[in-house]
Subunit: 207 residues, 2 copies
């Protein structure tokens, strides 16, 4: 009975440590998981939470500059998942499982106190590309492309099958600066490439 | 001596728990700290790491649409610190200590395979606004504005004093949609406002 107190304290302490360590492991594990999810049919579930990912850049090619019929009349806000961003900073490469999201936003106002130009309006749709040798062994560069569109931007499809390579992949293959990614238009990626996993590119010479 | 083993194990277990709990606390503490830092003179140190914050939107008002002399000829990529974003989702308000960063990026290419338009070129400068009743009791809305500019974007000033209210604050006060923030041009903020601390706005009706 004399030992009992110590054994109890020891057991309780070990349990506390185990619980604490488990919680920590769960947090770290999150950063290892994929940022995409397939349903039981192998279709991509529309990603959410990407507005907390790393933003890389925004082109805009409005209708009025393209004879009233732009192929891509919206702002395109482009994000990369944070784990792949970290990997890209470390290696300068897009890892297996890289997810990039392109959020389509309408051209809203064209004038403000700051001047004449283009201001972001409403969210319209979401497009996604994933690089995976495992999932897309036959896609050029192992990149597949998905689009989540409807007329009601508040009610986008929950799942989607990839486009055929002729719809997106071929243009990325032909014109993107590096590994099917248009990084020539994404200054955040250009500055981050190989800068070091734990370096802030905002602080490096490459900024 | 018989107790010694248990006392040792107990002590070790408690140390392990304490170390683990401390690490966890440090991680959580990070999310509580400010996202700005002042030097010993009270000047703002140029923030870094903000490309990992939450992106809110990008207006562009190029020279050629403003008689060759735009007041703001660059893309403006705007970020909010993640803690303030979370607070804004929960309350719909900008908390004490909110930091927003505006990264200035040149207009680069004006044509690509996607069409005629504006594509982001090079990083030029960083501007910052902070809301703090404690730091800026006399600034309208308690917002102060800073600019980190030089001719060499790779070598921006390390610290900066705030602009006088007549330079930035007055225009924000007059024309910004809400609490000195031009959220009318930042769809991410419009969708996030009061949606719930742990809700992904991408998944809500407001998207």
């Amino acid at each position: 009975m004399k030992y009992f107190k110590y054994i109890t304290i020891t057991a309780l302490s070990l349990m506390l440590f185990a619980a604490c360590a488990k919680e920590k492991e769960a947090t770290e594990e999150y950063t290892e998981v994929s940022y995409y999810k397939m349903d039981s049919n192998g279709d991509l579930m529309r990603p959410t939470g990407y507005r907390d990912w790393v933003y890389v850049g925004t082109p805009v090619t409005p209708n009025e500059l393209n004879n009233g019929a732009a192929a891509f009349p919206e702002f395109h806000n482009v994000y990369i998942d944070p784990m792949s961003y970290k990997h890209y900073k470390k290696t300068g490469k897009y890892r297996e499982g890289t997810v990039m999201v392109k959020e389509l936003v309408s051209v809203g106002d064209k004038a403000a106190t700051s001047g004449i130009g283009y201001f972001q309006g409403d969210f319209l749709a979401v497009e996604v590309t994933i690089k995976s040798k495992e999932l897309y062994p036959d896609e050029p560069g192992n990149w597949a492309y998905y689009g989540f569109h409807t007329d009601d931007a508040g009610n986008l499809p929950a799942t989607q099958k990839p486009f055929g390579a002729q719809h997106c992949n071929i243009c990325h293959q032909t014109s993107a600066a590096e590994d099917w990614v248009f990084s020539q238009y994404y200054p955040v990626l250009r500055a981050a490439k190989g800068v070091g996993e734990n370096v802030n590119p905002e602080d490096s010479d490459k900024r």
